[in-house]
Symmetry: C2
Subunit: 190 residues, 2 copies
DNA sequence: GTCTATAGGTGGATAGAC
DNA sequence: GTCTATCCACCTATAGAC
């Protein structure tokens, strides 16, 4: 049979999609056990409590997300291209009929275990940090222009993209997201 | 004792706050019955099914929201002022530690009864309609400036405000919302 | 690692008395 | 309109066999 690591990963894969589509409070162990063809009890061997599963989910999601940002950095793209690719990550998630994992959790914030809240905010803090770097680089190289602190622009970008994603998904229209994303990029382009 | 209408309203008041803070899937009839000091069974007299309670909740929320927009119109404020007041409605909700009811439901979209989904989208459609009117009025009067269709700008505004609200609430920092709202207004100001 | 069995709780919802 | 009592489905989680 599959070994521990393998099964754990598959559990996380299924749970991740469930959180991104239905929310952390919108799925149960039964929703994972069914497709995986193991029992609910077996899931508890890998993740004793749902809160721990949630925490691990965010940690993995952030790791993968930051890896994608690092990959963007390695392409040597200019600041404007980097922002476009940042938005493209969101668009890709949406095209797969998912919401951003942490955007979803932000809505459920008040019902989440404390550990998950901290992890969720850490994800957004890291997004902000990367964006601030890109924005400042872009301002220096005259690729980008904006007023005020880069941090403020970064926060506005993250919030706007998450919100646009949420509404686009409700309407089942990916294009709604793209239109907003394009406008946001245009607004900071020199 | 209180009559039907009175109790129904109080049920809606409590349920509304619960949805705005915990989400539609994040509360139960017990959460309403407790504070109201009646039993869960009694709640079913007023709202036989939770889905109906949810539907009525959205209808009332939209009615009140549109009334607030009509009130803005009656002030005779100019387009820029109207947008500022529009954002102020969001800020006020947030200051009360709530999310927009429909922004919350947008996150839970895939788990909602169909009737609630339709009502939720109608709320956003009406918001868009009002904003399009304000934006076009502002463009004519040179108070506002923006490229592209007013509808696109309206959708971007709604999405961005909802997203900013969601993140600001998670961080417990109302100021995060205001910073984004101010930037959005500045971007369409002539 | 996975299973059966089950505990202990809560979910929405109904019947019928008052 | 509100109550008590109850149903049944589902939830997370655990014990203990294999």
């Amino acid at each position: 049979m599959a070994d521990n690591a393998d099964t754990s990963q598959r559990i996380l894969d299924i749970a991740e999609r469930l959180v991104q589509t239905r929310g952390f409070n919108g799925f149960s162990y039964a929703d994972i056990a069914g497709p995986l063809r193991i029992t609910k009890a077996s899931l508890h061997y890998h993740f004793p409590a749902k809160a721990q599963l949630g925490k691990r989910l965010i940690e993995r999601y952030e790791r993968n997300f930051l890896a994608a940002l690092a990959a963007i950095d390695r392409t040597g793209a200019n600041a404007r291209q980097k922002l476009r690719r940042y938005a493209a990550i969101y668009a890709e998630v949406l095209r797969d009929d998912r919401m951003c994992l942490c955007g979803m959790l932000a809505a459920e914030f008040s019902t989440l275990p404390k550990a998950m809240r901290e992890n969720m905010k850490h994800f957004f803090d890291e997004n902000e940090r990367w964006l601030v770097g890109v924005l400042e680089e872009g301002r220096r190289s005259k690729q980008l222009k904006f007023t005020g602190a880069a941090r403020e622009v970064a926060r506005a970008l993250v919030g706007s993209l998450e919100g646009a994603m949420m509404l686009a998904r409700s309407y089942g229209e990916t294009a709604r997201f793209q239109v907003v994303a394009d406008r946001l990029l245009a607004e900071v382009s020199a």
